[in-house]
């Protein structure tokens, strides 16, 4: 492989561009400069750390280490889903619902991909398992966060319409059917869009990375298609599960709308 290794100077040049942008941000009083700098620093530190962890994992292949690694990834993703909600569910539900839905969808799909499609020995070879699961979690997280956000926002906005149906003797789930559908759709739109635009508007990041690192384009393309399908399935199933759990939690056993279960 004809891979060109990047030096510290190379990365510094790119970082300098971000600094110029930050300077412009101050001048235009955009109020994002702080966030921008912190995010750039986080990217650098987080990715470097991950790089070292991956190196460790690749060097000593063991199911135990893998379990720890993927659990940490899942918990971070779960926390991220909750952090993106304007009105997250109170208590453990806020964290739990997103995490459980992500676990069910991403772990199942990734396991299937590793054992049936990639079929390496052992199936949990970190070089495949970690990036696959990472991409699955990253996208599913977005879908679930969008779906739950839409669900809770719409339930708050349309409280009167929901309760009007409850008053007439409809069940909670009947009263929220339209909102629930809309929330599921919302969660799936980004991945549908990125499948439709892939290659025409944007070259997907993973494929770009593989090509830059020296893989033959057609091999990179095949992997990209595989990933797209896996991500779509994972995001779709995860969003459906999360929205179903979320909409159940909005009502109690007496079919009352319980917006008090959301944080203000």
């Amino acid at each position: 492989m004809n891979m060109i290794s990047l030096s510290v100077v190379d990365l510094s040049i790119a970082a300098f561009l971000v600094l110029i942008l930050a300077g412009l941000g101050i001048k235009l009083q955009l109020g994002v400069t702080r966030q921008l700098i912190i995010a750039a620093a986080r990217t650098t530190i987080q990715l470097l750390l991950v790089g070292y962890i991956l190196k460790l994992l690749f060097d000593s292949v063991h199911l135990g280490y893998m379990t720890i690694a993927v659990t940490v990834m899942l918990l971070f993703a779960g926390r991220e889903v909750m952090a993106r909600q304007t009105h997250p569910y109170k208590g453990w539900w806020g964290f739990g619902m997103g995490t459980v839905s992500m676990f069910l969808s991403t772990f199942t799909v990734t396991f299937l991909a590793l054992t049936v499609i990639i079929n390496n020995e052992p199936w949990y070879t970190p070089q495949y398992a970690i990036p696959l699961l990472g991409m699955m979690l990253g996208n599913t997280m977005t879908g679930i966060a969008l779906g739950l956000e839409r669900l809770t926002q719409a339930a708050r906005e349309q409280r009167k319409q929901i309760e009007a149906q409850l008053m007439l003797g409809f069940s909670g789930q009947q009263s929220i059917t339209a909102i629930r559908r809309q929330a599921m759709r919302y969660g799936m739109i980004p991945i549908i869009n990125s499948m439709a635009a892939a290659g025409l508007v944007s070259l997907p990041g993973m494929m770009t990375g593989q090509i830059l690192a020296g893989s033959p384009p057609l091999e990179a393309v095949k992997y990209q298609i595989l990933i797209m399908f896996l991500i779509t399935a994972g995001t779709g199933f995860g969003t459906v599960v999360a929205v179903v759990l979320g909409s159940r939690r909005l009502f109690d056993d007496r079919e009352r709308l319980r917006l008090d279960r959301l944080r203000k």
Partner: protein
Amino acid sequence: MKSLRVENVESEWLPKSSIDVKAGECIVVSGPSGVGKSLLLRAIADLDVHKGSLSIDDESFDAMPATAWRKKVGLLTAESAWWAEEVSDHIKAVETERLIELGFDKSALDWSVDRLSTGEKQRLAILRLLANQPEFLLLDEPTANLDPASVIKVEKVLLDYCRNKPAGLIWVSHDVEQAKRIADKHYHFDKNGLSEVIK
């Protein structure tokens, strides 16, 4: 005769309240605003978490699903909400006679909800509620947003339903004249709960 018994119902913002209403009877409830009249009706419809007991004859509210309870005990709010495009999407069975009595003709069912005035919405919400054939009606200032001619129409439709079904009515109203026209009994509601006003 069926009767709805409300005993020591209480919630966070609602003072402890008890009231009995029999089928065929219209009870008017009035009292200062902010004391919780709407909350009382919501609690009776089991829409809010509450303490105390609710029963029809000897059947407790929690012995049946909440959906069944709310079909028997129908709540009409002061301002109606609509969730679909057309009027007919909201009403499962229309009695044409009642539609005309409320001042509409059949074409009203094809109307888009967006073009309804507040008063039209309120009158159609009554039609929507009565289609469920509830045994008791909880009416939260049902005529507050209506013009005088519609007030009379609505009073007649609701009282006819009350006598003919027969159904029990708990009717929240601020209007003293209205109370005189429609009330079989009159209750006053304040921070100490409900008490009957003896004429």
